[in-house]
């Protein structure tokens, strides 16, 4: 008898737990509503702006009693978000990184936004740049609003370049000689003359390999084909690009080697490749700096962009209210405000005048060359369904490349062997 009672309690508890975990999406939109949006930015200025927009929304929507912005550390963002969803505690809205976009868009986790956005007065849906929304669409529906379409550029510590006695990137651009070959020579000179790091591919650190697409795209290389089915690592253009990176790292010391840290924004490196949204880190910089487009590769000029999308979780408790808030958050007026931190996908806002107003640290010609041209021609960083698993397989297979005596073609062939079964899934 006692055993049966204990078993019954256990089953009841188990059912209770599962019920908690299943969520109850869509219900209860009539009563008081609280919304939660996960982001990867705890930046004070960002949060202040989000709160202002939320306050304004609440004024016209009294049923929405609170809107919170939940900042999750960038490094584990997607993992934490998925864990929240698995644990039955999904946010109502979430930022989604470009490398997780295919998974989120294709899985059906996000609510289609077209009807809500098009049905919102004055939204001007048609002005969203197709290059920016492409990644966030499936079957003709938009599942994420690309609130940030941020091109990669090169920040230059002009003091260190001067100390190295080398021609600056600006001078090289003027002489039409801003190529990867010359960029590597410059970085190598900075390292040799000043002892500081030459060129840092930010967030790469011999792990975040997708950041290397900011280099190899200049060779016309890509991680996989556009349809995502064929591995691109063993193709000749990738081998050449990686050979360049390898030699520049281990022979010319243009890039800091594995296990060496150098923060450009702390004045520890001559140049760094990163997104222009990092310009805010230079507000109190103690050194002279410049921002220039990526150098040309053997295949000519190119641009690479990283994106962040904003989506509504279907499993959230108030999906429809959340979609309505998304429409408000990203309407033309608020997009203009957000543009000071996140380059918007709206063509009307992509002008040097608008961007200059909100990006006082950047000169109009920098905005034109890096931001506006970058967004219209840029290639988005590599992304694929099952990105996390693919990414780990590539990282692991690329590790043998980061040794002075590496056999570049053999290692890259190994990368394809490792990821082909995953691409075929």
């Amino acid at each position: 008898m006692r055993a049966r009672t204990t078993a019954a309690i256990a089953v009841a508890a188990l059912l209770g737990l599962t019920a908690c975990g299943s969520g109850d999406g869509g219900a209860g939109d009539d009563g008081p509503v609280t919304l939660r949006m996960t982001t990867w930015s705890a930046n004070e200025a960002h949060v202040k702006l989000f709160d202002e927009i939320a306050e304004e929304y609440k004024k016209t929507h009294p049923n929405v009693t609170a809107i919170t912005f939940d900042a999750i550390p960038f490094e584990n963002y997607t993992t934490t978000l998925t864990t929240q969803i698995a644990g039955g505690n999904p946010p109502d809205l979430a930022w989604v990184l470009e490398n997780a976009a295919p998974d989120f868009v294709s899985s059906g986790a996000l609510l289609p936004l077209d009807d809500t956005l098009k049905g919102t007065d004055g939204y001007q849906f048609d002005e969203l740049a197709p290059a920016a929304t492409k990644l966030w669409q499936a079957d003709g529906k938009l599942y994420g609003y690309p609130f940030s379409t941020s091109p990669f550029g090169i920040f230059v510590n002009t003091d260190l370049v001067k100390a190295a006695g080398a021609q600056s990137p600006a001078e090289l651009i003027a002489a039409n000689q801003w190529s990867w070959e010359n960029a590597a020579k410059l970085a190598s000179a900075v390292n040799a003359k000043t002892g500081k790091a030459g060129l840092v591919v930010r967030d790469f650190d011999y792990k975040g390999w997708d950041n290397l697409s900011t280099v190899w795209t200049g060779w016309g290389a890509q991680a996989w084909s556009a349809d995502g089915k064929t591995c691109g690592f063993d193709k000749p253009e990738m081998v050449e690009a990686m050979r360049f990176l390898h030699d520049a790292t281990f022979t010319d010391k243009a890039f800091p080697g594995p296990g060496t840290t150098a923060d450009f924004f702390a004045g520890e490196a001559g140049l760094t490749i990163t997104q222009i949204s990092r310009a805010s880190l230079l507000k109190d910089a103690k050194f002279g700096w410049d921002l220039v487009p990526l150098p040309t590769g053997p295949k000519g000029g190119y641009a690479v962009i990283g994106q962040g999308g904003l989506g509504v979780l279907k499993k959230g408790k108030h999906a429809e209210v959340a979609a309505d808030f998304l429409a408000f958050f990203t309407n033309p007026t608020n997009s203009a405000k957000l543009a000071q931190f996140f380059p918007p996908p709206r063509t009307s806002l992509l002008t040097t005048e608008t961007l200059a107003k909100t990006n006082p640290l950047l000169k109009p010609e920098q905005l034109q060359a890096v931001v506006i041209d970058g967004i219209s021609t840029g290639v988005v960083k590599p992304s694929h369904t099952g990105q996390a698993e693919l990414s780990q397989a590539v990282r692991s297979a690329l590790d043998p490349l980061w040794k002075p005596d590496a056999d570049v073609p053999a290692v890259l062939a190994g990368v394809c062997t490792a990821i082909n079964p995953l691409l075929a899934k």
Binding site: T82, T83, D103, S107, K314, P400
Partner: protein, 317 residues
């Protein structure tokens, strides 16, 4: 003990009809039972809620294909277990796990015992060294590991130190062998103090007369250690080895912070692989299957150690 005795007498009385002819329901025996259950209730509720139910759920999840994003949870029977048998990564993961465990247990126990023997001497300053070696145990694991991460970088503190004596140190966390060695050493230095304290307590329980008698018989220091110290502290050796083996199989934070399983997959141990599969690759069903394997491994190793105690633990013959 009193409770048990009362229980027996109470048991007899409870069958005797109460005055007035009706059987008394609220007997001493029942009262004692209730008290007993109430005493263990907090622990029992905690164990059921946070150990037994999750354990059952993990087994249940392992029989499912669970896609969190698509919100699907489909029963697949033993499919995940079949996939595990065919997983090309698993042999490497198990090898890394075994290497880590063996390295950690051997280094940790021998160093802990060595330090305990040293600090068991009646010398000035031993208290200071006891505190010194024990203090890492109370430091936050992640903070400890992050600091070591800086020290072990190519241009970090350890290579800087080696450089001053003219040695060109390796890139610790990037070489296959050095990365595993680094993770083991970081973990040993962190936790050796705990085993050291346990050994110290055991050493202080060994009667001094035994050593005296051994000296009279002409036994040297090594013989005394082998024939007196080791047998008498063998229950503690068993305890520390079980704790250390189980702990070594559950290592996660150090790997996540220092190497993320790399270079290649040389430091991808079982728990880290489980984390990757479940939380990074969103294969929660398969992740659960790996945790069932981990559970069985820990259980099997503990049972083996427990069985072997009869052979070598002093009080167990």
């Amino acid at each position: 003990m009193a409770l048990l005795t009362d229980d027996r007498t109470a048991g007899r009385t409870s069958h005797r009809p109460a005055p007035g002819g009706t059987r008394r329901w609220w007997t001493t025996r029942r009262r004692d039972h209730l008290a007993g259950y109430l005493f263990i209730a907090p622990q029992l509720v905690g164990s059921v809620l946070f150990v037994l139910i999750p354990l059952g759920l993990v087994v249940w999840y392992s029989l499912h294909e669970w896609n969190v994003l698509a919100d699907t949870f489909d029963f697949v029977g033993a499919e995940n277990y079949r996939a595990m048998a065919d997983d090309p990564n698993l042999p490497g993961v198990l090898r890394a796990t075994a290497l880590f465990s063996v390295g950690l247990v051997a280094l940790n126990l021998s160093l802990a015992l060595f330090l305990a023997v040293l600090l068991n001497q009646r010398l000035r300053g031993t208290a200071f060294f006891r505190v010194l070696f024990f203090s890492p145990v109370v430091v936050s694991l992640v903070a400890w590991t992050i600091v070591w991460g800086f020290l072990l970088q190519d241009n970090g503190g350890i290579n800087g130190l080696l450089d001053t004596v003219g040695v060109d140190g390796p890139n610790w966390l990037r070489g296959d062998a050095t990365a595993m060695l680094s993770v083991i050493v970081v973990q040993v230095v962190k936790n050796v103090g705990l085993n050291m304290v346990l050994f110290l307590a055991a050493l202080q329980g060994v009667p001094g007369e035994l050593y005296e008698a051994a000296r009279v018989e002409g036994a040297g220091r090594w013989t005394q250690f082998r024939r007196i110290t080791v047998p008498l502290i063998s229950p503690t050796i068993l305890l520390t080895s079980i704790i250390t083996v189980v702990g070594s199989l559950q290592v996660f934070a150090q790997i996540a912070v220092l190497t993320q399983g790399g270079p290649g997959s040389s430091t991808t141990v079982l728990v880290y692989y489980l984390y990757q599969q479940a939380f990074q690759f969103h294969h929660f069903g398969y992740g659960a299957t790996i945790s069932v394997l981990l559970f069985l491994l820990v259980l099997a190793l503990t049972v083996v150690q427990w069985q072997m105690r009869k052979r070598w633990v002093f009080h167990e013959q």
